[in-house]
Symmetry: C2
Subunit: 149 residues, 2 copies
Amino acid sequence: MDNKIRIRFAESTDLEVIRALVVELAIFEKEPDAVLATLNDYQEAFNSGLITVFVAETADEIVGMTLFYDTFSTWKGKMLYMEDFVVKEAYRSKGVGKLLFDKTLAYAQESGCKLMKWQVLDWNEGAVKFYEREGATIEKGWWNGKIVF
Amino acid sequence: MDNKIRIRFAESTDLEVIRALVVELAIFEKEPDAVLATLNDYQEAFNSGLITVFVAETADEIVGMTLFYDTFSTWKGKMLYMEDFVVKEAYRSKGVGKLLFDKTLAYAQESGCKLMKWQVLDWNEGAVKFYEREGATIEKGWWNGKIVF
C-alpha cells in the first residue's frame, strides 16, 4: 500500500474533499451534525494562511489528510497544532496514517517548532495506541473550556 | 478594585513581565521548571503576529494577562484559542480575571471567530466554576497528545 500513496501539501481546490473527510470523521466520533464550517470558511482560512493541510492520495483520489496551524506554547515556544487527522475508512490500518503523521511531525521540526500537539477522544483506543507507538505523551489531566457564539 | 484596572493590548516591551506571569502560573500548576520558552521566543512570536496579549494594569504595574491566537476549528470555523490566562495571586478574586476574560471573549466575537476555546486543569475547581459562571461548556472527554522535539 505505502508505495502507492503520495503525501503532498493541499491546494485550494482540494478543500471540498478535505471538508468531506472532516464530515466522515465527525460521523465516526458520533457527532454527525457538528460540522457547521462551510467550504467558504475553509477557503478563507486557507487563503489567509491560517491553516495548512497535507493530503495522502492514491493515483485516483485523496484518502486522508492532516490539517494544522502554528501556535505558541507559553511554556515551550512555537508549536504546531494538528487540528484534524483523517484517513478514509477503507484505507485505515494500511500505513497511510503513519505516513501522514510522520510527514506532519517532520514538517513541525523543520519549521522550527519545539513541539507538536493535538487531541484524541478518551474512548478511541486504536488512536491512543497509534500515538503511543509514535512516541507521544498522552495527557489526561486537562479539560477543554469553550464558548460558542 | 474594578475601576482602577485598565485592560489594554500588550506591547513588545511588556513581554518580560508577561513571561514572568507565565512562570508564576506554572509554579501554581506544580510545574516550576516547565517554562523553557525564552524572552526571545516570546518576542519572535509577538513580532510575527502569531500571538496577541491583553494585559490588566493598575496605575503601578501589570497584574494579569490573557495570551491568545487565531486558530481554525474544522467543525465550527475561525476560533480564538486562549493559550494562557494569569492573574497575580494578590489580585485574584477581585474581578480582574473577569475583566480580562470578558475583554478577550468580546475581541474573539468582534474579530469574526465562531468560538473561543482554552484548557483548564481538572483539579482547578475555582477556575472551572469561574468558566461555568461565564457560560462555558467544559469538555472532559478529550486527552492531549504531544511530542516534544
